[in-house]
Symmetry: C2
Subunit: 255 residues, 2 copies
DNA sequence: CTCCTGATTATGTATAGACAAATAACGGGC
DNA sequence: GCCCGTTATTTGTCTATACATAATCAGGAG
């Protein structure tokens, strides 16, 4: 290998558009395995030493790829121990707003949730319209209410696509609310949030314990894994008891 | 220098906590100059060659710092030309939601805004309370309304601190609404957003052309530049005509 | 004057080697 | 068995060098 010219490695594969730089390709390879779930959170990824041999390159090149993944928050590195797939980021900007347990803990008030309905069925036209996803696929539908202290904090109407998350079918969600459960188990590649304000109708007012017509925050979130929908949720909060807070800095990290 | 051990450079300054790694320090130094406005958008930062001499290190070390800044979107690099301070990011997650002109353009409807009040004064106790910033400093207070087509889209109540943005005192904001004006001129280091839902009182209902008690989205944003407040704004939107949309992907980039 | 070409220059990628720092694992002393 | 210091391993940082790539610029041909 000592005679091998530098820029000539990995000979140009006849493949389509691949990342041109080797460190980029290594990074993409690993990222793909993490996002696809092949390497779950906590999994130890190969040592720099091993990757270096696997790709036939210098350690600096591998290191560069892993540093990028570290910066992106996808892996965590520990000297002497190795590099590990990071726990799915829970606090990415708007993400944090559904972590009721954490919010309650900050205030020193007890948090709990109740599952009010749970069913497995194909996504019908009404549900598809409601959540903005295609109809037909098998999905778990959950109706859930969150409490902080003795006041309702939110009503949650959620769909979990069983194609993407088959193990959700076995889960009761009595111990862990569906949001946290998904957050800690399922990596996502894209998420979309919509925030609206609505006046509570009779049912919502009753469920949230507020006056009819009271202003409510509605958060709709849809999450994809490589263009396949994972989950869609509509969370309704009493407007006078809940606010969404986001911190930003130019580096992109949440505060 | 050939005999100089590697890790011993820059001898430990008696300073307080500084970034430990040199590439980290270079990155932080440059970031600071960009965010503080010393190097405005478009400014060419020193060549790797120059920085390398300035810090007495190898090019790889400088390159690493600049690569990080590129990944963060703070600089843009062009071969043969050099590295330049990037234009302020305009679409960072929630940031986009106030760009009425863009929103209107998407829909093909005309956008306009009106300045309903404009005054310069020291921040009094009531305003300090209202916006959550310290009282005392000289500030420009703006009351503004945004229209999309012939419907009111939002009411804006804003404070611009003249210590941080002195040139705002000379600006009428008739051509460019204050949000866009600030976004394109003033870099920020930290921003905080709060989103709430409220029932419109009589004044707000009148200004937005909605029924009294109608649900409204309220966005409060505060922006700092190195711990000094830059601007604070409260935007109120009709809940049935406005929604906040955010796209996220794991790499942290907005979609 | 225009178009093409080649030189120049700054960034992009990669190497091989070296030392530093942290820490998991091992082994000995009690 | 438990505590503690030593060792080995892995990541973190940096160097000095090399060649690749892209874009600008100057010069020459038409």
């Amino acid at each position: 290998m000592t005679d091998m010219p530098f820029g000539t490695k990995a000979g140009k594969l006849p493949d389509a558009a691949r990342p041109t730089a080797l460190h980029e390709r290594i990074r993409a390879d690993i990222e793909e395995r993490i996002l696809s779930g092949v390497w779950p959170p906590g999994h130890r990824i190969p040592f720099e030493h091993e990757l270096m041999e696997q790709y036939g390159c210098a350690r600096m090149t591998v290191n560069r790829a892993l540093s990028a993944l570290t910066a992106a928050g996808l892996i965590v590195r520990r000297r002497r121990a190795g590099s590990f797939v990071a726990a799915p980021r829970s606090e990415r900007a708007l993400m944090e707003i559904q972590d009721f347990a954490a919010e309650a803990a900050r205030d020193g008030r007890p948090y709990r949730h109740e599952i009010r309905a749970r069913s497995v069925a194909a996504v019908d036209v009404a549900a598809a319209e409601h959540f903005g996803i295609p109809a037909g696929a098998q999905a778990l539908r959950l109706d859930c209410r969150h409490w902080i202290g003795d006041l309702p904090a939110a009503v949650e109407d959620r769909l979990i696509l069983l194609d993407a998350v088959p193990q959700a079918g076995e889960e009761s969600f009595v111990e862990t609310p569906p949001g946290s459960w998904l957050l800690s188990r399922v990596p996502w590649t894209r998420a979309e949030h919509v925030i609206r304000a609505v006046n509570a109708d009779a049912a919502l007012a009753r469920d949230l314990g507020i006056a009819r017509g009271g202003a409510c925050l509605v958060l709709e979130r849809r999450t994809w894994q490589a263009d396949a929908p994972v989950t869609a949720v509509r969370l309704s909060y009493p407007g006078d008891r809940h606010r969404f807070v986001g911190h930003f800095s130019p580096s992109g990290k949440a505060g």
